[in-house]
């Protein structure tokens, strides 16, 4: 893997995480529990899609084949997507969505914070924007964890179940692949192993406050660094890419 290939794959990964998480959250549009929360979730979706656009545009530049961010989003097959599997899991009920957002935001805040000091100026610039957004996403999902965790017996059990079910997808966040190692030396990427204890502490603090039990680290799902996904990504792409597949280069 050349440094350029590593940078391409790394940037794609950042873009794909934002794109798929944003797409999942957009499914809440018009279905939120109340109008205010509907807007809150779709605002977070839009933050993600904006971030995806910036990262994928940069990825297209790095690849140097004259593609656009839309080509990368709408014309890549499933096995060339590198988003974490947790992002593609169904939104489930509100507790699942909030639990997912908490686990992801608690990772993104220190990730983007570290990446804002990347020696790659474009990545640093996008990350500096991302960290402000992620902080808000974190606060939003954290406060909902408190409310659900300490709410009713039902809301507590739903959040507990969601955290339990999602936990096995959190190991992947910290996997160092070949591109990470190559770019870490150049000061472009972040050492994900260093983020793990920070993430664990943040998540544990919130869950303890929310009276939710922290699951044991068991077997973790893995594969996204190699483009291996759960059954759910294919369905997302079928919907997301339909128009460009059926009517290539359609404009309106």
């Amino acid at each position: 893997m050349t440094p350029q290939e590593a940078l391409f794959k790394y940037t794609l990964r950042l873009g794909d995480n934002a794109l798929i998480q944003g797409h999942r959250l957009s499914e809440w549009c018009s279905k939120g529990p109340i109008l205010e929360e509907d807007l809150a979730l779709t605002n977070i979706a839009l933050d993600n899609i904006g971030l995806a656009q910036a990262f994928l545009k940069y990825a297209a530049d790095i690849e140097g084949k004259g593609k656009t961010e839309d080509d990368l989003a709408y014309k890549r097959p499933e096995r060339q997507f590198y988003n974490h599997q947790i992002t593609e899991l169904p939104i489930g009920d509100f507790a699942v969505t909030i639990a997912k957002q908490l686990l992801i935001s608690a990772f993104e805040v220190p990730l983007f914070s570290a990446l804002s000091h990347s020696t790659d100026e474009t990545i640093a610039g996008i990350a500096a924007k991302g960290v402000k957004e992620s902080r808000y996403h974190f606060v939003h999902s954290r406060d909902w964890c408190y409310r659900l965790g300490e709410g009713t017996e039902l809301s507590h059990s739903k959040l507990q179940q969601a955290i339990h079910d999602l936990w096995a997808y959190t190991g992947e966040l910290f996997e160092m692949a070949e591109e990470d190692t190559i770019l870490l030396v150049a000061g472009i990427a972040v050492d994900l192993e260093e983020l793990r204890p920070l993430w664990k502490e943040t998540v544990a603090t919130v869950l303890t406050e929310a009276t939710i039990q922290i699951p044991e680290d068991g077997t973790m799902h893995t594969g996204s660094r190699n483009g291996v996904h759960t059954e759910h990504l294919g369905h997302i792409l079928a919907e997301m890419q339909y128009l460009q597949r059926a009517y290539p280069d359609a404009t309106w």
Binding site: L35, E36, A40, V139
Partner: protein, 96 residues
């Protein structure tokens, strides 16, 4: 009117630029003050409208009634001298 089942009602005041007034923007539903602030942020500052937000439970607003409008507001109708139109704007001042 149907009964509002969507949490408590809060009034939202937005300051458009630092040092300016907080003006009423609308209302949001929320179960606590953090949620009210976040909902206000998500609904009323999406297009860079604000630099600061106040939220207050609607139940704490005391409003005058329309029946009292005559008593409260009509007496000022004939007191034009209370308008600052007789002052000369100092040079360079944006507002007095």
């Amino acid at each position: 009117m149907s009964i509002d089942t969507q949490l408590d009602l809060w009034e939202v005041f937005i300051q458009q630029k630092a040092g300016g007034n907080h003006t009423h923007a609308g209302s949001v539903h929320a179960s606590d003050k953090q949620m009210a602030l976040q909902n206000a942020r998500d609904i009323y500052t999406r297009r860079k409208e604000g630099t600061s937000i106040w939220v207050i439970p609607s139940q704490y607003i005391t409003a005058s009634t329309t029946e009292d409008a005559d008593m409260l507001f009509d007496p000022s109708d004939d007191k034009l001298y209370r308008h600052p139109t007789f002052y000369v704007m100092p040079e360079g001042a944006k507002q007095i």
